[in-house]
């Protein structure tokens, strides 16, 4: 075991390998307030990568309904339960937030790596705390999931009323889109007895070497997000490859520029933004003020990592759904939730502009620029003053090419009077 710095936890933690960071890191932000669970992302991924025999139950990208859904079934409940058993009541946060090094304060609980030292599974010691899902856990994803929490018992056709009022709905659910987080400290990589998993230095994408893998499934046991999948026909494990040919800029559509993955580009709700970020030698993010991901995660702090307490430093970030009860969100996204929702409810001028970058172009945006526009109106939102400016935001690709130019207000086109009924 060696000691590595995990900025999401605001402290050092233990990891089986020496700290090392890629030149750039695959990362993404999902705005869960906008996800409608249409599964376009899921099918884009499926039809690109996992359409063959043996991959039928394999969904590298999936969208599940929270709180009752999960793929595999109850993955998060089970791992949270294991952590709680190992460290009862101790998974707490404390300490003052500090920018970059500890934006959510300091985690006083134990990560899956730290717990593994004292946790011995039936097969011996583990590198990371985990469990192997049963075969049936992978079956029937999304079945019976769309049930709201907190609904009073009703009868068919009888809808609950008056429960939907912000800041929190009494009856709630939300959609959670997930894929491999290409973690900075991957548990799958740590657990592989054949050293078949590697994290690429150029973009931090975590891959399984199919020639080395022998299908022991230790990675499936160790990954807390359960994002490696066993394929019976080849007897190996497969996982999300981050559409690396697109990230490398080899998709002809991108004309040489790095492109966002298939699931990001296919999102009809424009909830997704993916890009590459850079690290400092100590494991924190290198300042890149006008990279939209850096802005959303570190400046605006509206995008939060998923189950950061696991300790793998996932690189998937989520803008939490604002109607969901806070204790649930704090468990899922850490103590940064309240500030993130406050910020998102009444967005400032820059945040509103950056949110326009989501889903506008399939190429990756590395830098943005805002051209101030006129003030459109002002009002009061949630008791605070809100001013809307019609700013223009411009996004640039890897080589500085302008790929996006859009305004905060969508252009409005009115059909002229004489053509009113021309259809």
């Amino acid at each position: 075991m060696s000691t590595v710095f995990n900025w999401q936890l605001g402290r050092d933690m233990e990891y089986p390998y020496e700290a090392a960071y890629p030149d750039r890191q695959f990362a993404f932000v999902f705005n869960l307030n906008r996800c409608i669970g249409c599964q376009s992302c899921t099918m884009a991924c499926k039809s690109t990568w996992t359409f063959s025999k043996g991959q039928e139950a394999m969904w590298w990208n999936n969208v599940e309904t929270k709180p009752y859904g999960g793929y595999p079934h109850h993955w998060d409940v089970k791992i949270l339960d294991l952590l709680n058993q190992a460290n009862p009541g101790g998974q707490t946060w404390n300490g003052e937030p500090r920018p970059l090094k500890a934006p959510y304060g300091r985690f006083h609980g134990k990560t899956i790596f730290e717990v593994a030292k004292t946790h011995v599974s039936p097969e011996g010691a583990q590198r990371a705390l985990g469990y192997l899902p049963a075969d049936e856990d992978w079956a029937a994803p999304n079945r019976f999931e769309d049930n709201p929490a907190g609904a009073p018992p009703g009868s068919p056709g009888d809808y609950t009323r008056g429960d939907a009022r912000l800041p929190e709905h009494r009856t709630w659910f939300f959609y959670l889109a997930r894929l491999c987080n290409h973690c900075t400290y991957p548990a799958c990589l740590a657990a592989c007895p054949r050293n078949a998993i590697y994290k690429r230095p150029e973009d931090g994408i975590v891959l399984v070497d199919q020639e080395r893998c022998r299908g022991y499934r230790k990675c499936m046991e160790a990954c807390p997000y359960k994002k490696t999948h066993y394929r019976g026909t080849t007897r190996t494990t497969e996982k999300c490859i981050g559409c690396f040919p697109r990230v490398e800029g080899r998709d002809p559509q991108g004309r040489g520029l790095p492109m966002q993955t298939r699931c990001m580009a296919a999102c009809i709700g424009h909830i997704r933004l993916q890009g590459l970020v850079q690290f400092n030698p100590d494991g924190t993010w290198r300042e890149d003020r006008y990279n939209p991901l850096y802005y959303l995660v570190h400046i605006a702090q509206v995008a939060l990592p998923l189950y950061l307490q696991f300790g793998t430093e996932p690189n998937g970030y989520y803008i939490p759904p604002r109607w969901v009860p806070r204790p649930y969100l704090r468990q899922m996204f850490g103590p940064g939730v309240d500030a993130a929702i406050e910020k998102y409810l009444v967005p400032d001028r820059e945040l509103l502009a950056v949110l326009q970058l989501f889903g506008k172009d399939a190429r990756m945006c590395f830098r943005y620029e805002i051209r101030p526009g006129p003030k459109v109106f002002e009002t009061t939102l949630h008791g605070r003053k809100f001013e809307l400016y019609n700013d223009t935001i411009i996004g640039y690709g890897a080589d500085g090419t302008k790929i996006i130019e859009t305004t905060v207000e969508e252009p409005l086109h009115l059909r002229p009077e004489q053509h009113a009924n021309s259809i």
Partner: protein, 352 residues
């Protein structure tokens, strides 16, 4: 009707394919070694110095000077493909007359002399140095046989002797017996009927889609009155005929290396993934089924030519033992999901 954007997308796809063939592949680039930021993963030592690479990688087409091919060879190959495509078509008296015409036979003999030279020599130049065990035995057997068929005493291929105007009825009988009137006779003419359900990574529809993509990438479409699926042997042979003709044109007009490499690479891939994969099994099956008829001679000739092509393009030929897919595969898949039983009015499932 394709929309204007579909047309422009397709055109840009084709342009991209032509301008940068390596980009059309989503395989990892050959120059990028697998590396990890963590100490767990050490890359394998490079075998480059130890064993010289005998076979060109399928992703990197050999430079034109590597193979002493001329436009004549390519034209001869195109002719042979065309001849075979005609021969496997539904037999008609007119078509048979063309196949048996002295002119055709003369051209066939000449073309075979040029394009069949690969089977005459000892080791084919472009065959991989170390084929797998199965390929090795199959290759050894076939090579002897090919040499026999490839070097007829008078230089005239066996089919010329078998294809005589009087043999039409015998050929027609054998054709109907082998291929049948129904969707699937004893020796199916369609690629996707061949393959191991477990080993084949592609489902049947994927194979069809892949074939359609091959045709479309070169601007070809199946004629509406053809009435055949994309995986019909004649269509695949005709496609190779077009590619060989394109190669001949590129060589004749001394185009720069890129179009030539592209068309050469496409032939290699098509042979590896489609025609060369199933033809050995098909011809073996056909030869056994049609013993003593002109069709058997055609089968032997097809096999000799396919293996010569595989050797020429450095592609390992498919297994002769490739089985037919079970005819009721779709039905079996359908039953397993249980939907049919669940529908109203369905027969109750048999007790286990």
């Amino acid at each position: 009707m394709p929309t204007p954007s579909e047309i422009s997308n397709r055109q840009s796809e084709i342009t991209n394919l032509k301008s940068a063939p390596h980009r059309a592949e989503w395989a990892p680039p050959a120059h990028a070694p697998r590396r990890s930021v963590f100490g767990n993963y050490r890359p394998e030592p490079e075998p480059a110095a130890a064993e010289p690479v005998a076979a060109p990688s399928p992703l990197t087409p050999a430079a034109p000077q590597d193979h002493p091919e001329t436009s004549d060879t390519a034209l001869a190959r195109a002719f042979l493909y065309r001849f075979l495509a005609r021969a496997y078509e539904d037999p008609t008296p007119l078509g048979w007359a063309q196949l048996c015409a002295p002119d055709t036979q003369e051209h066939l003999t000449a073309a075979w002399k040029i394009a069949g030279d690969r089977v005459a020599g000892s080791a084919p130049a472009e065959v991989p140095a170390s084929p797998g065990p199965a390929e090795e035995t199959a290759g050894a057997l076939d090579h002897a046989e090919c040499a026999r068929i490839g070097n007829p005493p008078d230089g005239r291929p066996e089919v010329c002797a078998a294809f005589t105007p009087a043999a039409f009825d015998a050929f027609l009988d054998a054709y109907l017996a082998a291929f049948g009137h129904a969707a699937r006779g004893p020796c199916p003419l369609n690629e996707i009927e061949y393959g191991d359900l477990k080993a084949d990574p592609l489902f049947q529809p994927h194979r069809l889609a892949d074939l359609a993509a091959f045709y479309r990438a070169f601007g070809l479409e199946v004629a509406e009155d053809a009435g055949e699926r994309h995986d019909h042997l004649c269509l695949e042979l005709e496609f190779m005929c077009v590619l060989a003709a394109k190669e001949a044109w590129a060589r004749e007009h001394q185009l720069d290396a890129e179009p030539l490499a592209l068309v050469r690479d496409a032939q290699r891939k098509f042979l590896r993934e489609h025609l060369g994969r199933w033809t050995p099994a098909f011809t073996r099956r056909l030869e056994r089924h049609a013993t003593g008829t002109p069709l058997a001679a055609l089968a032997r000739f097809t096999r000799a030519f396919t293996l010569a092509e595989c050797a020429r393009l450095g592609v390992p030929p498919g297994s002769e033992d490739l089985l037919l897919r079970p005819a009721d595969e779709a039905a079996a898949l359908c039953e397993s999901c249980g939907l049919a039983q669940a529908l109203p009015g369905a027969a109750p499932a048999a007790p286990a």
